[in-house]
Amino acid sequence: MEKLLAARLHAVKVRPYLAAALFALHVVEDRSVPTMAVDPHWRCYVSPGFVARTPVEELAGVWVHEVSHLLRDHHGRGERYAREHEEHRPGERGTAAGWGRLRRNIAADFEINDDIYGDGLPLPSGAVLPSLLRLPAGLLMEEYLRTASMSGLTADLAWLDCGSGADGQIRPWELGPDGAHGLSRQQRDAVRFRVAEGIRGRPGSAPDGWRRWADEAFHPPQPWRQLLGAAVRSAAGAAGVGEDHSFRRPSRRSAGVPGVLLPSLRRTPPRVCVVIDTSGSVSDAELGGALLEVAAIAQAVGGRRDLVSVISCDAAAGVAVPLCRAENIALIGGGGTDLRSGFDRALRSRPRPDVIVALTDGQTPWPSAQPSCRTVVGLFPRPARAVDEEDPDYVPDAPPPWARVVTIG
């Protein structure tokens, strides 16, 4: 026991931002556990034999490993994955369910092990790494599950078991939700939140993987397609354009209710103008993918291809090309970026657009005043420290507050 606690102290010392989570774990000694395991109620089951034969510094790594399963919600994600992708029959103790469990455990271990070790925390012997299957590091559990079959690993890893905290499958030794010293969902959220806040408060000391986790723990990024779609839809569907009620002609129901004025439903499809940043910093693949999405969304909104036009813009803007005429629009450009000319051009085109959708990497000056129509900016993500060699102090302006900004990809 003392060895185990010394290992926890070691872990707290080298990963101070995980202290709250490590101390919140309740230790349960159990001889039927292969090594160390966690359950979703934040209990940590430990085999005394495993502690006895493992050096303190490796135990510290195991502590961080197990708490990572809980912090990253692997049981919830594992269960969700199993429900969506696998035949999930909890009653059956057959090989298929066991294999699914093991796969999820291994994928979760990959996600954890490729970024928590080093820097005072040695890799425990027997820890699995994605390089074992020649997979790239830095992916998420779901991505590993999707891309890899993981066959060929089973023979020597069948003992690997991090408990239901890692994959959502209940084990015989676990105390379950009613057992003593479990954390309720609210308490678990509170601990995870406190750890995330701690990491975000001191961004320098935590590695990238943990920082990314902290940013996304309570605000998981929504798929950008849906966000972009919602933004374009709501811009195009807002008052003034799109389907709406009007008193311009009385409703046909009016005949039945003499003396009452009823509005009728009229549809005014919006004009969408897509301004595309074709400067050298935006890759062709990015542009192609995003343009297809926008065209599809705009068609779904307006229903008419002739209402969607496209302007390619680097430092100077091209001409607005209606989508209906161009089967293959040539995106001209490749130089520096100044989207202001693109916005100018879009607003000067006749008839005036109701919605401007700008696709850019954000390395551009923005119009100083709000354009007279709704604006959606689709932003290709760029690393934060993109330094201009000629002018190292140059920081591109963030998209202005009047635009709806959706980060793509």
Binding site: L5, L9, F23, E57, D189, F218, A231, E243, H245, L262
Partner: protein
């Protein structure tokens, strides 16, 4: 649930013609299918909804279509003994909510009255009821705009809804909404957002014939003053410590349309805390409500603040160390010990310093020793030259040994890091 609609008495049972018998049999089958029983089952979602409705705050239920939002509302209305009026927003016109203009004899003199629809008139006549605005997400923007006035000012046309009417709305999440509906920040701020999810077990058991019957929270009359005092103390104490959270507009696309903190939503959170305390609901229900009112981040911080409020007072721990009751959970226990050490540091006197050690000894007797390392180090550093080390410290020797062992392990790990990097990467 509609009563099995048997056509005419002649048709049921011993029918006369062939088709009559078939229909009667179909009715019998339907009656059998609709005969279900209920079992008591705690339901946090329903508890949260009940409390928010009781607190007279407009609730917005987010949930995929077809997961039983309406069924929950029906149950709620029955148990609160309120008549339920369901209005499906998407099949109405804006004028159904803002009032239908009616041209009279002389509009210039009398004006054009805005006539309210029948459901509103009936609600006013009843004086009380549960107004359920369903399918908010598929209504046209103009209908949504008209609905704002119903939700915010409780006015339908020229008609003022009586205070006994409670309002609940339902919407599909943005990802699955078919059109561009989303709440503007001012409107989102007035709702308590509850996310409705279905429970696999409940659905399976329900289709098997046993639906859950939730025990709804009841306000306890004796606890009302205490609940108000607690809620005020919690929210005010928290906002004093974190003034930046009083007002924070949502700034990213993903957070649009959800709850965000403002003085108004903090007031809602305070109300909900008071109701939750008076009804003695669990922290989980409270968490759903508070997060639904002020948003996830501020809500979780307020809940963490509540946790800290539950910690024992450091001064009373120092006053009587041998009988000190420390929290069982490790992180809370450490927080309590750190508070004790901080209290000693704030007013360092020899007596208090020794009491601090006594509290640590007490903690050693009742829990894991590794929690004591950080507080003990800080407390040791507070020593003045003329203070003698109390005897109690010797009992903490094991803790110091533990800390040394951890230190040695950190040292070993650092030493082997360079050598082991190449070798360890293989496995």
């Amino acid at each position: 649930m509609p009563a099995p609609a048997a056509g005419t008495p002649a048709l049921t049972r011993a029918g006369t013609s062939g088709t009559g018998t078939q229909l009667a049999l179909a009715d019998d089958l339907l009656t059998l299918l609709r005969t279900t029983t209920t079992e008591p089952r705690p339901d946090e979602q329903l508890e949260a909804l009940t409390l928010a409705v009781a607190a007279d705050l407009p609730v917005l239920l987010w949930g995929e279509p077809g997961i039983g939002k309406t069924a929950a509302l029906t149950q709620l209305a029955t148990s609160l003994d309120l008549p339920l009026t369901t209005v499906i927003a998407s099949v109405h016109e804006p004028s159904d909510f803002s009032g239908l203009p009616i041209v009279g004899d002389d509009p210039a003199v009398q004006g054009v009255p805005m006539a309210p629809p029948q459901w509103a008139v009936e609600l006013v006549r009843a004086g009380r009821g549960l107004l359920f605005l369903d399918e908010l997400s598929t209504a046209t923007p103009a209908v949504q705009a008209a609905l704002l006035r119903v939700v915010l000012e409780r006015k339908v046309g020229a008609l003022q809804l009586p205070p006994g009417v409670r309002i609940v709305a339902a919407a599909n999440p943005r990802a699955s909404a078919a059109d561009g509906w989303e709440l503007s920040p001012p409107l989102a701020n007035r709702f308590v957002h509850l996310y409705w999810v279905h429970d696999r077990e409940v659905v399976v058991r329900g289709l098997g014939g046993v639906w859950p019957r939730a025990e709804l929270p009841r306000l306890v009359p004796e606890r009302l003053p205490e609940a108000v005092a607690f809620a005020r103390r919690a929210v005010c104490g928290f906002l004093e410590a974190r003034p930046t959270l009083i007002h924070r507009l949502p700034n990213t696309e993903t957070r649009r349309g959800g709850a965000w903190p403002s003085p108004r939503s903090w007031e809602a959170a305070l109300t909900l805390l008071a109701f939750g305390t008076a009804a003695s609901v669990s922290r989980d229900v409270l968490a759903q409500l508070v997060r639904g009112a002020v948003g996830d981040g501020p809500g979780l911080e307020l809940l963490a603040h509540l946790d800290r409020m539950d910690l024992p007072d450091p001064e009373s721990l120092l006053a009587d160390p041998p009988s000190a009751e420390l929290p069982v959970r490790g992180d809370l226990r450490q927080a309590a010990l750190e508070a004790v050490v901080a209290a000693v540091g704030a007013r360092p006197e020899r007596k208090r310093w020794e009491a601090g050690w006594a509290v640590l000894v007490r903690a050693l007797e009742t829990g894991a020793p590794d929690l004591l390392v950080a507080p003990a180090t800080v407390l040791a550093a507070l020593r003045r030259d003329d203070w003698e080390v109390p005897e109690a410290v010797e009992r903490l020797a094991g803790v110091i040994g533990l800390a040394r062992r951890a230190d040695r392990s950190v040292g070993r790990a650092a030493a082997s890091a360079g050598a082991g990097r190449a070798a360890g990467a293989g496995r």
